[in-house]
Symmetry: C5
Subunit: 362 residues, 5 copies
């Protein structure tokens, strides 16, 4: 299989730091060093027995799975490209599959290679500090009696499944590799419900300040949420089509009684997509509401300015008028001038206030 690797002519190094004009003959990963050392865990089980083992490298004997047994290989970390190469060699995987495992910029995908099915999914993590979602790529290879899972780094997401396998009469122990793959996918998609909930809560947080007290930070939050939702869609939307394919797949690797389980996951992913779609519409509407709110506020500011100005500018004019130094201003020298003027001013102010009351500005 060395040939496959030597002849790999692909060059998709989205991060500019990776050279585009790379010479053929080497698999490269774009993973930032999330995990220093790749960890390999091998879990063998059948109805009667169960064994879990940590190994350092992929042995040639990896394909020798006991009769009737299921082998589940978990590889955490993709920086040690050699280990992925070895997996590729031992399980006879296509060079494009290896390339996709190593490139973490994949969108979710499903490919049936006959002997094995290759699935790429995205686990979504909410990073509270950065206030955005991080994605982690999980590749699943489903063979006749084995499942290989390759993750960017170690995580506890699949621990409940290991716990269930340990239980001697657990359903996982009684069923095939396809059921194991199903539980893995199911747990990743259940994870998306939490994602959906976080978005929903963010929307509710913003809503509170949206209409009553819109701030520049509110706008910032809406925009960030909009971007996050678009990013989410990229990771979640294609999963629907993948599960649909699994549900209808006529591959021998998936037994007939599994279809109802995949149909169930399909409903879940459909529901999540539906909610995200709703959220996107809500967020889009928020921008309009924000703008309207801001305009509302400006209206209030303008009203105050206009009321004050409209009342006092004419009064100031009158005051200024009788501050003129003309010699022959009869009003000034009249003893009734001053009290009449005060009366006039009160009347003007009164009329203005009435006008504003009629206009419902006060």
């Amino acid at each position: 299989m060395l040939k496959v690797i030597n002849n790999n002519e692909k060059k998709k190094y989205l991060k500019k730091s990776k050279k585009v004009g790379l010479p053929p003959g080497s698999l490269v990963t774009n993973a930032e060093k999330k995990t220093e050392h790749t960890k390999i865990k091998i879990i063998d089980y059948d109805k009667e027995s169960f064994n879990i083992e940590n190994v350092l490298k992929i042995e040639k004997s990896i394909m020798n799975i006991g009769k009737g047994k299921i082998r589940w290989i978990i590889i955490d970390g993709i920086t040690q490209v050699d280990i992925i190469k070895d997996v590729g060699n031992q399980f006879n995987l296509h060079s494009l599959v290896l390339e996709d495992i190593l490139n973490t910029n994949q969108t979710p995908k499903f490919e049936d290679y006959g002997d094995y099915i290759f699935i790429v999914l995205k686990k979504l993590l909410w990073d509270k500090n950065k206030n955005k979602f991080e994605t982690e790529q999980i590749s699943i290879i489903l063979g006749e009696n084995y499942v290989i899972v390759i993750r960017e780094q170690e995580s506890t997401i699949f621990d409940p499944i290991i716990d269930r396998i340990i239980i001697p009469k657990g359903r996982v122990r009684l069923m095939g590799a396809d059921y194991l793959a199903y539980t893995l996918i199911d747990i990743i998609i259940d994870n998306y419900f939490i994602v959906q909930e976080i978005v929903g809560e963010s929307i509710e947080e913003i809503e509170d300040s949206l209409i009553e007290d819109p701030q520049s930070e509110t706008l910032h939050s809406i925009y960030k949420l909009k971007r996050s939702t678009l990013e989410l869609r990229k990771s979640i939307w294609p999963v629907r089509e993948i599960i649909n394919k699994l549900q209808r797949e006529e591959s021998q690797l998936i037994s007939d009684n599994m279809h109802i389980y995949f149909r169930d996951i399909y409903d879940h992913i459909f529901r999540i997509n539906d909610s995200l779609q709703n959220y996107r519409e809500i967020i889009s509407g928020m921008l309009d509401v924000y703008l309207s709110s801001i305009s509302n506020k400006m209206n209030d500011i303008m009203k105050v300015l206009t009321i004050i100005s409209t009342i006092f500018i004419p009064l100031s004019f009158i005051a200024g008028f009788y501050g003129m130094n003309f010699i022959n201003m009869p009003e000034i020298s009249s003893p009734f001038g001053y009290p009449l003027l005060i009366l006039l001013m009160i009347m003007i102010a009164f009329i203005m206030v009435l006008y504003f009351l009629r206009k419902k500005w006060i």
Copy 2:
């Protein structure tokens, strides 16, 4: 069937209060305690006889339905998980069906399991106090000679159907379980017309204040209405596909002469969706109209401010000018100064008013 339940490994507890990492082996409901005690009603009927009975638990004899009879089981409340388990055991339902019944976050769904058809619908209730729609999940299981209805809580929605069954020669009595299921679905969907009407009325209420007197509360109402409509769509939109499947379904459980009835419901749900779609477009347009109205109002405010300022600021300047204390200001000591100035001021004000009249600001 205990095994099915023991092996249920699903964990979709959208409310965070429910633990995600739940050990397998127990069905859980996310229902908030709407009903303390689950109520079970069993209605048996055929052309000649009719019997209604309240029971406390699902007996093993529940499947012994008399020959030619139809059994309709109404279960109100899903907090007593054991009862749902018993139903699952007696009627041999798939564990995924039981899970869906207990999880009230389902979107409407239709599934044909061969022996029975599983339908989930949402009843919509307008909560006047909270000013929003509440949904209640209604699960319907249609078997050969039985219909099981599971609701979150007791309600009167199906009482008219019970009344009709009581009538000896009523059409329901003459037809099969499929016709009973049809009447149940029909009554739920008829309910949606009321929902549609409430939205329509809300739109009309908002419209009145939208253009003439837009307030910050108007904006609030539009936004809330928009969100409600999106929520409604989530509950109503998928129903169309469900009815379409029922209409075309080749299941033995649905007799051929039922298709025309389901086609009729399909028309209803199509009409409701159409109206809701229209409402959504109207509401979207409302935000634009609101913004335009606010701008209109601001224009009016600005006009008042500008008219007052533009007339009086120059006049004030002139008044201030002749309030200066320079020694040699010939106008001031002239006897014609004062009357000429008054004339000038009147002219300036007059010209300004003319200008505003030409601009149609007054």
Copy 3:
């Protein structure tokens, strides 16, 4: 057939005044009393003969149509439910058809019941006083040798067709019931062109004031037009699918040479829908244009205010400055103070005007 009516359990009374929990066994109409008495007109014709007759009720002999003859029954008014019941009984119509005829909230629909085809269309009337479109439901039942037309009220829309039938060698006389149904549908759809024209003219009327002189009434008109167009779409859009079905229909009731005629109507309805679609986009754009126009106007107002304020506020300050009563202000007692100050003021005003000219505000 009384049974069908007795067993009608449907309850879709959108107007709240009609009780929802209605007991089964009676057909109800939601028609407001547009016509007090239902009028029935029976037109019989073949190549040689022609007969027109007004009757008061549906006789049992209504189905006895002479050999080779076509019978066209026009029923105006649906408040006398018994007459519709009788039609249902005599022509053996499904109870759902009768229900649809009586409920005027139908969207346009097409249903092939084998023996007869049931079509519901909407006639659109422009009500000048209310300034909106009124719809009138027209139900058409096409049988082998008869066409039944049920309208909400009497109208002259089909009079030209009657005129044509009177002409002995008119094409209608030579062809079957399907051709008669075609002419009826054609005349209803031709009517939509007038609707389209009214919308087009309304748009042009609004356009004139849209950019040059946007008023709050303009906004009102745009919004009303938008709503009307959405209502229109609800009545017209589904017609396309109906005509498409008629065009492809393999029913025996429609002869092959009719397909080219229905294809022609299909083109018409396609053209109308296309125009309405265009109108909707134009109207949507109008709201944006309106808002921009309003902002433009506000800009103009602001400019006037700013020019006046910016010129006179500094001048007023200077005037106020030399209106101060300090004892030792050398400028005031200087003989050059006053003329120099006037010069300064003219210069400031001049510079300001230059500034505004450069900014193109004047």
Copy 4:
């Protein structure tokens, strides 16, 4: 064939001036008298010979086309309905075809009548004076050995094709009537590229003033362009489907080697539609950009007003303050009062300017 015309019962007279309730039996045109006299040109050609002839009326011998010859009939003007009737009679055209030729409100259409194919296209003319597009309807009837072209008025659009036919060994001379029809359609669609270019140029013209100096005329231009583009789409969009049908058509009238030519036209029309679609999105965005620009400008105006007001209003207050006539104002009689006040004023102005600098308003 007189019968067809006598029995024509259609009444689609979109211009209200034409009576809707027209009696059957006469073909009417809605063409405004663009051409007083209809001009008929007959071009006959085969590999060896070529003949061009102007005639005044359609003779009965029009169908006698020499063996192996192609006859191309160009009819300019549709006001003389009799000539169209004669064409219909001689070439045995369906009455609906004649009606469509005479009604210039057609959308583009394609219809295969077996013996002949009927195509309606729109030629687009840019009217510089009216600043909008005019459409002209061109009907093409393709028979086995003839092509009939009916235009609303004489034009030079097809002259290059006549020139090419004159060349003895030109490709047109060597191929059939289908190739002639292809060249006609090709030249009409090539015409659309000019239309596309005019729209593109209009967009670029508007763009220049859009952001830097938005005027009310800019808004006017954007709106007009939007309307024009919508009108264009109505004429151009359906052409895609027409060409698609021609490309796949299994009619005997179109030989197999023509398909690659129609595929080529299909690419052209696809490209034009694509560009128009892009243009529509650009124009839609322009309205938003315009509104933002206007707001930007208003911001600038507001800044000027605010800076001037905020600096001078406090200063004016101080000046007014010391213009008061109270008897015991110690500052006024103090010799340091005046210079200290000037200092205070300068400081206030300085602080204000600093504030505006920090806010980046200056």
Copy 5:
């Protein structure tokens, strides 16, 4: 083949400078003279041998490719139309293919002519100076044992492929012409990732100034980015369909084991389109955010103006009031008048400030 060229009647010269009414019989290019002289490079290889040669013209012997060899012809520059003609003659290409090669306004296209497959793609170049994307058309003709590449000008894009061919045991050397075509398409599409990255970076650059400090240049950048993205879509979107056709193509020219490679490219182009789609939505939202930001800023300006005006206008009025020259103003002559007035003014200012604090304007 001269005939083909002579009979070429097409006239699509989008640049007006090229005459529309061109006489038939000559192929024309719309390429602006990017390359003065067309350069031709011929690369022959099989498993054992490799040869590269620069030639000046297409010889008649060009079709004599050694048995088992692959010939790759690179033609840089399309201004020398004769060379393209010669290629057309020697490889027997359809005249429409030659025309498409010469017209650089093509959208990407795929056409299977049986003997050869014709593909047009667009290479995208970011022109830093003009700040926009330039497109370069690359035509690929895939025959049984040859690949012809025609570019508008010389470039280094395919140099890595030449390098790989030089390696004796490189995969390219071992596989057929279809694999060579695949590597060419792959390298062009990899290029699009860089395009995607540039757009993504531009978005991030704009985002920084979007909310905090929106300027008129920000608006300019958003608008330009929107236009660029629309242009990009035109070049990239159709590629998806092309690759899809290649992936499913049943042409003999593409061997079965190539399908998995084209499926891989399909995933890439799908991912790019997806990202561009996201970018378009982000950019659309940016305009709304920009407008909201501008309104926010205006609100801030208005607040400053209103606070200053509202505090000082009443105070100025009072000052002006006591600047009046009436004879009998008791306050003025009172010794407490002045200090009390100062107190009053401080109170008014204090109340105003409190009011603004409560309104959260300060």
